[in-house]
């Protein structure tokens, strides 16, 4: 019996050892993140006011604001979402449901997954070459949005495919057995069943796009911009205009980068304040993803 006691003691020790080790590892991430956020809040909190959100950049740190940056970020995100989401979902549907499974599609699949890991600056260089120089589209909101769109396209494709693949095969068979075409199965069953996964993947991809600065610097986002893009909405018919697509732009991370690289302490406080806003936007988007996941998990069950 003595040996059994010893064995149990030894193994329990091992058990506890790894529990503690795991806890410490988790703590590292949490603590670093908390320190970062607390530090940002301490530095930036005082600068964060209404004036800060509604002012143009300025040479004087006290009167500088992030108006151009957050409006630019939102406009770019709109272009990104409108291009990457439909493209990504359509490509995923094609690959998952229509494409024949052969070496070519496996090759395409592997490379799409690889694309998700390509450094973002490479996408910037591709856009610079393709959209700015080759197609001559200019260094504007539209090209910025497209660049980020291509950046997150693989993420959306992978997320959508996972979501579609997780729909049980019984649902497909039942619909086909009733005489449905592929598209009817996709439209009436696969998409509604996987909307949760698609929305989550898309929002997380978008929040990643919002934090990107490198590819936009490459395609020519303006660092010091004192002109707002024209409003997409207008008072008279047809109430929308698309001039904003062709306007120069700046985005939040670039504004932060610009302020951080200045010597004055006051600008660093502004950078901290802008970072708080950026983190807030990202967390809000992630919160939306969680909410959607929660809503649809209750609704769709099998």
């Amino acid at each position: 019996m003595k040996d059994v006691d010893k064995l149990i003691r030894q193994q329990k020790f091992q058990d506890r050892f790894f529990a503690v080790l795991g806890f410490l590892c988790t703590l590292v991430g949490l603590v670093v993140l908390s320190i970062l956020i607390i530090d940002l809040l301490r530095d930036g909190w005082k600068s964060l006011d209404y004036q800060f959100l509604t002012s143009f950049p300025s040479r004087k740190a006290e009167s500088a604001g992030i108006l151009v940056a957050w409006i630019g970020s939102i406009l770019v995100a709109i272009v990104t979402a409108l291009t990457a989401v439909p493209l990504g979902i359509a490509a995923a549907i094609y690959l998952e449901e229509y494409a024949r499974k052969n070496w070519l599609t496996s090759f395409v699949e592997i490379n799409i997954t690889n694309l998700a890991g390509v450094p973002s600056i490479i996408y910037g260089l591709m856009s610079l070459g393709l959209f700015v120089y080759f197609l001559g589209l200019g260094r504007n909101v539209f090209v910025g949005g497209l660049t980020l769109g291509f950046l997150i396209l693989p993420i959306i494709i992978v997320a959508t495919r996972e979501a579609i693949r997780s729909v049980p095969n019984g649902i497909r068979e039942a619909a086909y057995a009733l005489g449905a075409t592929k598209w009817q199965v996709i439209w009436h069953h696969l998409l509604p069943c996987s909307v949760n996964g698609i929305a989550t993947g898309t929002i997380i991809a978008l929040s990643r796009a919002l934090g990107e600065s490198a590819p936009l610097i490459v395609v020519g986002a303006v660092v010091f911009n004192t002109v707002l893009p024209p409003s997409p909405l207008q008072a008279n018919f047809p109430f929308v205009n698309f001039d904003w697509l062709d306007s120069s732009f700046s985005v939040m991370p670039i504004q932060v980068f610009n302020w951080v690289s200045r010597p004055q302490e006051a600008f660093h406080r502004n950078a901290a304040a802008a970072s708080i806003v950026l983190i807030f936007i990202t967390l809000t988007l992630n919160g939306m993803a969680m909410f959607i996941r929660y809503r649809f998990r209750k609704k769709v069950q099998w």
Binding site: P168, A174, A177, G179, H188
Partner: protein, 258 residues
Amino acid sequence: MVDATPSLKVQVRQLRVFYGENEAIKGVDIPVYANRITALIGPSGCGKTTLLRCFNRMHDFQKNVRYEGDIVLYPSEKNLLSRDVDPMEVRLLTGMVFQKPNPFPKSIFENVAFGLRLRGMSNRQELSERVEKALIGSALWDDVKDRLGRPATELSGGQQQRLCIARALATEPEVLLLDEPTSAMDPISTSRIEDVIFELKDRMTIVIVTHNMQQAARISDYTAFMYRGQLIEFRATEEIFQRPSEELTKSYLGGSFG
């Protein structure tokens, strides 16, 4: 129980099915009579489900599956396996209920109405009538009439399976294909579903795959016993169970293997 001259509804002729190199069904001929229940029995892997899924071309989704032979539908004499016949058309003529209940994650009403909508029906009044009729037909109406808008996934397993039967019935298929519809059910649900199936044969032709021999004996008019991809014996159910003519059938029904 069996009339003297039942008319032929479907004739399976020299059917061969290949999964890649492997021949799963090796030349089978089975007649299916109109308004009768035909049971396909046999040990696991004998090809009975494979055969059933040929009737509505469910194999078409898998690559590496190849058919030879005919499945001719009467009175139109249409060969369901012909390349010229669109699998969609075959599925519009047939209905299928699967082994595991697979309701759509939608409302009870929409589950039953889906097949009708696919056939272009959109009039709410007409849809409601057909849905009600189908749910009465599958003995589910009394359970769900007050909650047609509730998600189908809230129903119990047995109710879900009856919902799947209603979904297949709503379109009034000529042939109803049942793939071990009660294998995941408790005895009470099983007997309710058997009652439903038995009632249905006045309205359509039914082919049922079952691994439960008692079930075949209870509800079917004809029984086909399959073994290793071949049809060993096809006869009226009473005869096959009382006086099997093949040694293999006798030992399977007697429980010496399976």
